[in-house]
């Protein structure tokens, strides 16, 4: 009671910093490492708050991110940004006490009541509010890095607030891991770290040589506009991770928004389409900044937030009910739902580098987004058909892997043309291991994959023709292959020379590969003798056992490959004498190539 009186006396209520002062009422959202509750703050007349409980054990390496988020939520002060009341730790959870936004996130509003998207007037109101927030954020030197409907909260009075600074970055907050030089100027501020949620990520965030900056938020803003218009972001019919990979391996033309639903009654204004198109320019420099966007004619005569109350919030079930219903629909939600919720934090966000996208086509007419990949070739289906291609391809692949490694050492294991499970370290080896026990499994999977793919490819092709984007027909595999090599060449200036070199080195490398394969075969036979029939049980466990056994064998193998490497070097020196290329560069090259082989085996 005493404290209550005290709170009322001072105008600035300060929220208590101990968990016993709060009564948890309901769970209203959850993500990978955080849960959001509706709660009552007992000493303050049981006023309603939202509490985001971040599991610090689950965001292990990233205590700094958590600190930055808490700091951002304390120091940023803008009507369109959700400010935290306070935060404190409760055992290994961080509780962030925030205002309760009773209508919940736009993601939740859309999925419960507007599955096909909002009307354009509402979209304009929401987007304008978010632009105000972005203008302020960018002016403060902050990048949000995770703009999406799930991070936009709405209150019963229609006010719209941006939330979740779990992966945000600031030019004033030096962070060794995220920026090239931490104390740079606002203009040259560049980030390299991959962060955000895949569907909303700008191409330069996924892959860029110089990094990315404030304009990456503008891209995500554009994707969010599409999300509000269609009910979901482009490409979202693919589940986030596997699919990200699917669209790579299976030369999907992921034209979005399947035909059935397609914009029957939806006609978007020229202004809207123009605005979104400008945000989705592939070149970040050609995207307008937040201030410029606010002046776009799309936002002229924009209604105020009362419009949202009448047209969007009216009749909306309460947020806790929506959450409950969602849980009923998807019982394993905590595991499955990595994007949608308002609170998913860094772990749902930062991702491994999977794939370079050479560009995006925004089809303004269809109001859709079409990525362009440098490779259009489905490898799976060809491995079986074109045995001759196999080695060439694997060299090619290593080449690409090596390029990836040069840019981002941590991403090396996640890159493979063969595998759907990019995160599964062990499977990366399969194509090379080829002859070992996994051979069977691999084949199975490949077959499985092709059967799965066919309908998708079929469907896509239809869609593609409809949208009128260039299609590469399956007959043109070889052309695609060439394109693929060309694409690799163009990725980095340095890479051009390397690729050319690699092409010259091909015969030598192939010899090397062959002998390595022979050795692996021997090892595989050995394992087979030891293990006998059991091999089939659990692929994962089995593999772990095998790997540990292999480690010993690998030692021997490494010595051998070192010998081979020396031989190769000799060969190359001879070769290089005939060639005017710098021989030392050459030597380093192959070394990395062979290294990459050995490391991947482990």
């Amino acid at each position: 009671m005493a404290s209550q009186v005290h709170q009322q006396e001072t105008n600035m209520p300060s929220y208590p910093l101990d968990p016993t002062s709060y009564k948890i009422l309901q769970k209203i959202g959850n993500g990978v490492s955080a849960t959001v509750y509706k709660a009552a703050c007992l000493p303050m007349n049981s006023s309603i708050v939202a509490i985001k409980a971040i599991d610090l054990e689950r965001s292990r390496a990233n205590l700094d991110n958590v600190r930055r988020e808490a700091k951002a939520m304390t120091l940023l002060s803008h009507p369109n940004i959700l400010k935290a009341h306070c935060s404190f730790t409760v055992d290994h959870y961080l509780w962030v006490v925030m205002p309760f936004m009773s209508a919940g996130s736009l993601h939740s509003i859309i999925s419960s009541s507007f599955p096909d998207g909002l009307n354009e007037t509402s979209i304009a109101v929401v987007l304008k509010e978010i632009l105000n927030a972005l203008l302020y954020l960018h002016d403060q030197g902050h990048l949000h890095r995770d703009i999406k409907a799930g991070n936009i909260l709405v209150d019963s009075d229609g006010s719209v607030k941006l939330t979740d600074f779990g992966v945000s970055a600031s030019i004033h907050e030096p962070n060794s891991s995220n920026s090239s030089s931490c104390f740079s100027s606002s203009m040259s501020f560049m980030l390299n770290e991959l962060a955000g949620t895949p569907y909303w990520m700008a191409p330069e965030v996924i892959h860029s040589h110089i990094g990315y900056s404030f304009k990456a938020d503008i891209w995500s803003f554009g994707i969010t506009a599409l999300e509000l218009a269609h009910g979901r972001p482009p490409l979202s019919h693919l589940p986030p991770w596997k699919s990200l990979f699917m669209r790579i391996t299976n030369r999907l033309r992921p034209c979005d928004y399947e035909k059935g639903k397609k914009d029957k009654n939806k006609k978007f204004s020229k202004n809207f389409r123009d605005m979104v198109a400008s945000c989705l320019a592939t070149d970040p420099l050609r995207r307008p900044n937040a201030g410029k966007l606010l002046k776009h004619s799309f936002f002229k005569n924009c209604k105020n937030v009362d419009f949202l109350v009448k047209n969007m919030l009216n009749g909306l079930p309460p947020v806790e009910e929506r959450y409950y219903r969602e849980c009923l629909n998807f019982p394993d939600q905590s595991a499955a739902n990595i994007d949608g919720n308002e609170d998913d934090s860094e772990e749902a966000g930062p991702v491994e580098k999977h794939r370079r996208i050479s560009g995006w086509n925004f089809n303004e007419e269809a109001f859709q987004l079409v990525p362009v990949f440098p490779t259009e070739r489905s490898v799976d289906s060809n491995v079986a058909k074109e045995a001759g291609f196999f080695k060439e391809e694997s060299i090619d692949k290593r080449e690409q892997r090596r390029i990836m490694r040069n840019e981002n050492p941590s991403a090396e294991s996640s890159f493979s043309f063969w595998e759907g499970e990019a995160q599964d370290r062990t499977t990366v080896d399969e194509p090379i291991t080829g002859a070992t026990q996994e051979g069977e499994h691999n084949l199975d999977e490949a077959q499985h994959r092709t059967t799965v793919d066919e309908p998708i490819i079929g469907a896509t092709q239809e869609e593609v023709t409809e949208v009128g984007v260039d299609v590469i027909k399956s007959g043109e595999e070889r052309v695609a292959m060439e394109e693929h090599i060309a694409a690799i060449k163009s990725t980095a200036g340095e890479a051009i020379r390397r690729t050319a070199l690699a092409a010259k080195m091909m015969p030598y490398l192939m010899t090397l590969l062959e002998s390595l394969d022979d050795q692996r075969l021997a090892v595989a036979n050995l394992i087979f003798e030891i293990k006998g029939e059991e091999v089939v049980i659990s692929h994962q466990q089995q593999l772990q056992h095998a790997v540990s056994r292999l480690t010993l064998q690998l030692e021997k193998e490494k010595t051998k490959s070192a010998q081979l490497e020396r031989e190769l070097e000799v060969l190359k020196w001879k070769y290089a004498e005939k060639d005017r290329d710098d021989p030392s560069e050459d030597v380093n090259e192959t070394r990395t190539a062979t290294d990459s082989n050995t490391t991947n085996d482990q």
Partner: protein
């Protein structure tokens, strides 16, 4: 004629002088609440906010232009020519949130500005070390803590200033600051604490050697044995960072020769938190790797040998980490080979 409508842009030095004048005014009139003065004060406040923002954009540039080093140098020189920093720090509580943030960023940036290849901020601070006292005491005021804390962290980039703080009585206060209930402030304080104890290697080594007894007594009892999960987690991580630093080899040897320290680390190894376990392992391995283990350490390790070996047999981390596996194997080997001594 044109000049009438568009005044010539002020030079960086002029901007600093104006800022200083306004700060002096505010400093004098901060407590007076005479009714007539109120409006005038508001005006001055608004003007000051604008000026500080301008200073910031000179130092950081903006979305259209890079900062000009000549302008930055002028600004820095004028700023430290007189007592602007002291005024700014003491007036900070009266500024609005946005202006406080701008001011903090200006001060942070100035610490790195070189004039004639000298960090003149360092010279200024050395003559005004008492400013550190003000900044550190900011951790006791929730409204100022994050601003003063950020400034403080920039100031201790200067080695002499870091030494001053390390050797001051304030060092003891950090053990409390990093356990404040307010997470923002506590984590800011621990960031500063960590910076103090890791940034300037030789200074840190000297400090730890001279202050070994009280420092590690406090460190063990207040931080490593804290009730608070996050305190323990950060403390054991920082302990590892300090002890594994080559500059602190002497301190490390002393630390790993104490059975009390060993006991604390063994308790941390048994925690339910994987993260704390792992960080504790990185310290524990030093006890095991020590080739001159005192008998009391040996006897503890021998007495607990089977338990420890069993523990490490099951001790795994999610990530694949060759270094970790190698360290673990080494620790197991060391402990398995121990012979009880007299």
């Amino acid at each position: 004629m044109k000049g009438l409508f568009k005044p010539k842009p002020k030079t960086p030095a002029e901007l600093v002088r104006q800022t200083r004048d306004l700060l002096i005014y505010l400093d004098l009139h901060s407590s007076s609440s005479a009714p007539g003065k109120e409006a005038k004060r508001e005006d001055k406040m608004a003007e000051l906010s604008k000026l500080i923002r301008e200073l910031k954009s000179i130092l950081y540039g903006n979305s259209e232009s890079e900062p000009v080093s000549e302008a930055c140098a002028q600004l820095t020189q004028e700023f430290f020519r007189e007592n602007t920093l002291r005024l700014l720090i003491s007036c900070l509580p009266t500024l609005s949130l946005e202006t406080r943030k701008d001011a903090t960023q200006v001060v942070a940036n100035l610490q790195r500005q070189q004039v004639h290849s000298r960090l003149i901020a360092s010279d200024y601070l050395e003559a005004n070390k008492d400013l550190m006292d003000t900044l550190i005491s900011g951790y006791e005021n929730p409204d100022l803590a994050l601003h003063y804390g950020a400034m403080l962290r920039e100031c201790i980039r200067h080695q002499t200033i870091a030494r001053y703080v390390l050797e001051s009585e304030h060092m003891k206060k950090f053990f409390d600051y990093i356990q404040l209930p307010n997470f923002d402030i506590a984590s800011d304080a621990s960031a500063t604490f960590k910076e103090l104890l890791t940034r300037h290697k030789s200074t840190v080594a000297e400090f730890l050697t001279k202050n070994y007894d009280w420092f590690f007594a406090e460190y063990n009892s207040k931080l490593l044995e804290s009730e608070n999960y996050i305190t323990r987690r950060q403390a054991v991580k920082l302990l590892g960072d300090m002890l594994l630093d080559r500059a602190n080899a002497g301190v490390m040897m002393r630390y790993v020769s104490s059975k009390d320290n060993l006991r604390i680390l063994m308790n941390l190894l048994r925690e339910s938190s994987k993260t704390i376990q792992l960080e504790a392992f990185h310290v524990f391995k030093l006890f095991a790797a020590n080739q001159n283990k005192p008998p009391e350490i040996v006897s503890i390790l021998v007495a607990n040998r089977s338990k420890i070996l069993r523990f490490f047999g099951n001790f795994k981390i999610d990530k694949e980490d060759d270094q970790f596996e190698a360290d673990k194997a080494q620790v197991i080997k060391e402990i398995a080979a121990l012979e009880p001594r007299e």
